[in-house]
């Protein structure tokens, strides 16, 4: 294992180019548009899960409302492109920025809160966003939703075809990973991780926790908005019922299964959840029963997820180390 790692570190750049080349070849290697569509779904959810991982995995705040930020991005794109014909590529950052702004708004009341109190605020905010989407008819189409969202332009390619749309998701995914890797290595990222591992210690060491927590929310929301922007034309029709809390839970399941606190975790999670739910189709209505059992089994066997950060507080290493009767620390705390 260590040899492989050493080899990897030596030729890191080469490896990345190689992986990227393989990923670029994927849509041409897969025989059916259906399979490419699966690949698109995987990439889309991988980046969305990645954006949630920024919040849950790196700063340790349990956000349950990612569906809300996702919805902001999707509606921004759909409303502006169908009404004003704004270009997809301009909307991509704009959707992200709007979502980040909402992320800031959501983060403000959560600064004083911790744990589950924070979670319920994010959940509530996500539901409020959905209700606004359902009722603000002039902008969001209200109950009618927004249909026939124009497909993005991509070098004159027909992006209706999953084969080409794949590259939009791939582009977003790669940029996300590239930027996030840099952010995480910076002072900002290190502050997030410090907050995750021990907020009080981080604070005492001079980390402006409030500032970095807000920034963390905004950054996570930004990417959820960007993915939402790519989602809207991909499904071609959006309505409020697509952004329920179940969507948020689904993405949460992906990062917990794949592993939080690593960049690869959400990608693994998205791949496994997508492929698993598809491959279990033969079970018909028993499919989600089995899927649910697998989720619980996963938590028992490998709580840090398949590719989670095993050297972190997230790994739940304390499950085995300490006796059960410990103080209130493991519970929902507020402060």
């Amino acid at each position: 294992m260590s040899k492989v790692r050493a080899l990897f570190e030596k030729y890191q750049a080469l490896f990345y180019v190689l992986i990227l080349a393989v990923l670029c070849a994927v849509p041409f290697l897969l025989p059916k548009a259906l399979y490419v569509r699966y690949a698109c779904n995987i990439l889309m959810y991988a980046t969305l899960a990645g954006s949630l991982n920024i919040i849950n995995g790196y700063s340790g705040q349990t956000c349950l409302g990612q569906a809300g930020f996702f919805a902001i991005g999707a509606y921004t794109m759909a409303a502006l492109s169908t009404n004003f014909g704004v270009s997809f590529w301009l909307l991509l950052p704009l959707s992200g920025l709007l979502a980040a702004l909402v992320g800031l708004l959501v983060s403000l009341p959560t600064l004083k809160l911790k744990g589950i109190y924070l979670s319920i605020v994010t959940l509530g905010a996500s539901e409020i966003i959905r209700i606004i989407a359902q009722t603000w008819t002039p902008v969001t189409g209200g109950a009618m939703g927004i249909k026939q969202i124009p497909y993005p332009q991509l070098f004159g390619l027909d992006t209706f075809r999953p084969k080409y749309y794949y590259f939009i998701f791939l582009f977003i995914g790669v940029v996300f990973l590239f930027v996030t890797k840099r952010v995480l290595a910076s002072r900002v990222g290190r502050s997030w991780i410090a907050i995750r591992e021990d907020e009080i210690a981080a604070k005492s060491l001079g980390v402006q926790t409030s500032f970095y927590k807000s920034l963390n929310f905004m950054y996570g929301a930004f990417w959820a908005g960007v993915v939402g922007c790519a989602y809207a034309p991909f499904v071609n029709y959006i309505e409020a019922s697509q952004f329920t809390t179940d969507t948020g839970f689904n993405v949460l399941a992906m990062i917990v299964i794949g592993g939080q606190g690593t960049l690869i975790g959400p990608i693994v999670g998205s791949t496994i959840v997508t492929l698993l739910t598809e491959s279990l189709r033969f079970l018909e209505s028993w499919r989600y029963v089995i899927y649910a059992v697998l989720i619980i089994a996963m938590m028992w066997l490998r709580p840090q997820g398949i590719a989670g950060a095993s050297n972190s507080i997230l790994a739940g290493g304390k499950i085995k180390r300490k006796p059960a009767a410990a103080g209130g620390k493991g519970g929902a705390s507020h402060g």
């Binding site: 569509r37 209200g142 279990l280």
Partner: protein
């Protein structure tokens, strides 16, 4: 343990390969794709679809098929999720053996699939898509739910004004694309008829209607109209009853659903507009109703009946193609011109791909639906 998990996963994946249905290559079989939410919040309707389609299919095949072709349907679970439904629609559209797609249940999924079926040139015939702007999205999109610019004005003119002779109406409706379209069409006609209308709306997952009822009561209406197709119809009327509000109940949407009757506290007080009715005198329909209930474990609503009819529509379309080659385009063209009477009534598509139904006024007597005024009421 980790290995065990991996092994389990691998096993599941391998098993899934075996489970793929063996494709019948024999001549004379026409394959159809079915999209239905078999799991999730719409599972009840998805199951209804599946059973409705299968019942029709078994009958057709037992009777020698559609013009000699046997029919086959592959039903895929769309979970009521737009992304999943579109992925499954792509799977069907790409499979050249699939001649037409039946489904999906929600308008949202159908609208999202419209661009896919349009591009691949395959029919998407939805039993229940009720959004007013769905069918016109592509020549390949069809729905037999019935347009609301027919039923809603019928309700205003014939049920409220002419049959009940009332002037003050409280409407409680679901805030969905369908509910909105119902109400808008209704309002236009109600203004013409000089009805006084108040409107209350609620989200599709609402469960508590007591405050809406109290609110609706305020205007002191003569009749309470509910526009919804699901469980909310009975929930609202029950809430009105339990508030001790003695008022006539009128519903637009559920049709002569057996389930609504079984869920109501005072079923005899309800009046609905409906394109069809399970006539107890009609042995065939009664048999259908009982067979469905036996297979599903619950009474049919209008939805599985519509699903049943979509299968017969495809059959009729294939018969109308006659000796010509059965292609997706041929089915589309034939479907556009089909005229048949199904268990949900007369079906003939308009150029847009949805249908205008004829309606009658139905009520309940001793727990059984009965026709109060038939289709000819409009002509009287």
């Amino acid at each position: 343990m980790k290995k065990l998990f991996t092994l389990l996963l691998a096993l599941v994946l391998v098993l899934s390969l075996f489970a793929l249905p063996a494709s019948a290559q024999s001549k004379g079989v026409i394959k159809l794709g079915g999209l239905a939410p078999l799991t999730g919040n719409y599972a009840e309707y998805g199951k209804g679809f599946q059973i409705g389609w299968q019942m029709a299919l078994d009958e057709i095949n037992a009777a020698g098929g559609a013009n000699g072709y046997l029919l086959e349907i592959d039903v895929k679970d769309s979970q009521g999720d737009t992304v999943v439904s579109s992925t499954m629609a792509t799977a069907f559209a790409e499979d050249e053996e699939i001649m037409a797609i039946l489904g999906d249940f929600t308008s949202g999924a159908c609208k999202a699939n419209a661009s896919i079926v349009d591009r691949y040139g395959v029919v998407q015939l939805s039993p229940t898509a009720s959004a007013p702007d769905y069918a016109s999205m592509s020549p390949f999109c069809f729905s037999i739910m019935g347009r609301q610019d027919g039923e809603a004005p019928y309700l205003a003119t014939y049920v409220l004004k002419k049959y009940l002779g009332v002037t003050k109406v409280a409407v409680i409706r679901v805030d969905s694309d369908w509910g909105l379209s119902c109400f808008e069409n209704f309002k236009v006609q109600a203004d013409i008829e000089g009805l006084e209308v108040t409107e209350e709306k609620y989200k599709s997952d609402e469960t508590d209607f007591s405050s809406i009822i109290t609110k609706a009561k305020l205007s002191d209406p003569e009749v309470l109209v509910v526009m919804d197709q699901g469980a909310a119809v009975s929930a609202i009327f029950n809430a009105a009853d339990s508030a001790g509000w003695d008022i006539k109940h009128v519903a637009l949407g559920p049709g002569t659903s057996e389930q609504v009757v079984s869920q109501l506290m005072t079923p005899d007080n309800i009046i609905v507009t409906s394109p069809f009715f399970f006539d107890p005198q009609n042995a065939e329909l009664t048999k259908w109703k009982e067979e469905f209930a036996g297979k599903a474990g619950f009474d049919p609503t209008v939805h599985p009946a519509c699903a049943y009819d979509t299968m017969y529509l495809i059959k009729t379309a294939i018969e109308n193609i006659g000796d010509g080659e059965i292609t997706r385009d041929a089915i589309r063209a034939a479907l556009q011109d089909v005229e048949m009477v199904g268990i949900t009534g007369r079906i003939k598509f308009e150029p847009s791909g949805d249908i205008q139904r004829d309606y009658m006024i139905c009520g309940v007597e001793n727990g059984e639906w009965k026709v109060l005024e038939g289709f000819d009421y409009v002509n009287q």
